[in-house]
Symmetry: C2
């Protein structure tokens, strides 16, 4: 696991007004005049799998908008075990807690090569004072995080391992039907579902044998959605 920044490639300075995913990102409906307020540059950074955006406990300097790729938020328990509490994808924001003056709550680790915009705390705070439009965006991000946290609890931490896994596949398949679902190893899978990695492996194997999923390549799955629905509901 690499340290923050060591393998972050700086792609350039963000030009929000011409952002390709403008309607998704935090600064999406700011105007040019809003950006005149800030003079700190916003860096676009690319991270490779395994890279760490930030670690739990660090004093937070920045938030990160995820432009592409996949990032996991990991929380470590006193006894050493770890749990993945959230997955961040295109449009999500990592590190919101710095806006209330807290250190980072989680460790953010890249699972699939990710492009991000690093937004210094001062920039967000400054813009936030001036433009009410940003407030709405910020609240939406808080809401999304909270919503996902609740879903994670009720769907991925409740019921048998079979049901949890089925619900995870369904969730990951949801936003790209017919797109293959990408995972990142059985260990992480277990950490998402709150089960041991052997159980995760066994359950995936069972799904493969039953034809609920097909592993086209390592950690690349195509899913039989209706079959998985049935498992998620009836066990």
């Amino acid at each position: 696991m690499h340290r923050n920044g060591i393998d972050a490639a700086r792609l350039g300075t963000a030009r929000c007004s011409s952002c390709a995913i403008r309607d998704l990102v935090l600064f999406g409906d700011l105007r040019d005049q809003d950006f005149d307020l800030i003079h700190i540059p916003i860096d676009e950074l690319r991270f490779q799998p395994g890279a760490v955006l930030y670690s739990a406990g660090e004093e937070g300097g920045s938030l990160y908008t995820i432009r592409s790729g996949l990032v996991k938020l990991v929380q470590f328990l006193p006894d050493g075990t770890q749990r993945i509490v959230r997955l961040l994808r295109r449009g999500a924001v990592a590190g919101l807690e710095v806006l209330v003056g807290k250190p980072y709550e989680h460790t953010a680790v890249v699972l699939q090569e990710a492009e991000t915009c690093r937004l210094p705390r001062a920039v967000v705070e400054r813009l936030s004072k001036e433009t009410p439009r940003l407030h709405a965006r910020l609240m939406e991000r808080w809401y999304q995080s909270l919503h996902q946290a609740d879903e994670w609890l009720t769907e991925l931490s409740t019921g048998s391992a079979r049901r949890r896994l089925a619900r995870l596949f369904l969730k990951l398949a949801a936003d790209g039907p017919d797109e293959p679902v990408l995972l990142s190893g059985r260990e992480d899978l277990g950490a998402m579902l709150g089960v041991g990695m052997e159980t995760a492996s066994r359950t995936v194997a069972e799904f493969k044998r039953a034809g609920f999923v097909v592993e086209q390549a390592p950690n690349v799955f195509t899913c039989d959605l209706p079959a998985l629905e049935a498992v998620a509901l009836d066990g």
Copy 2:
């Protein structure tokens, strides 16, 4: 379970500027002139145990500041089972999601007689436009909810039932050391820990026999904190 409002006793119209827990509540650092902006009254409502503040799926009209008592947020799964995703106590806010135009995500049920301030959505939105101080407060509330959600996942939904129960007692005892911990039945206990109610009952019984807790009256416990710490860590 009673329907929203049926047994809500209206205590009067809130006067935030003289609020007894002003430093805790959402509107705590607003000034009189801020309130001049609104003309909709803020009601103070008292709810009895079992009363429902709102139900999942309803179009949200208001948020609720909890002034005293205890409220659970419940989420129902497609298969009918239910899970308690959060507990709200003095100073917490229920129903933040209405601020981003969403219907209520959970059903909010009173566990211990609760006094609340009902804040109509329009009031919060109006004030939010005018005063940046409220923004900071709102973000703190989002943060608190998110933080509690993450804690809930890692502490109360991970590990054996014994550890989960120990951690729950510790969490509830945390803000009132030497104060007895109040619960609300084994069914709810199970729904918080993600275990069956029989398991919850058995585990509580075991803790009582071991002297980790003493049930002074039904659902009223005093705790041996150090002993519970040990259980939470070492199993």
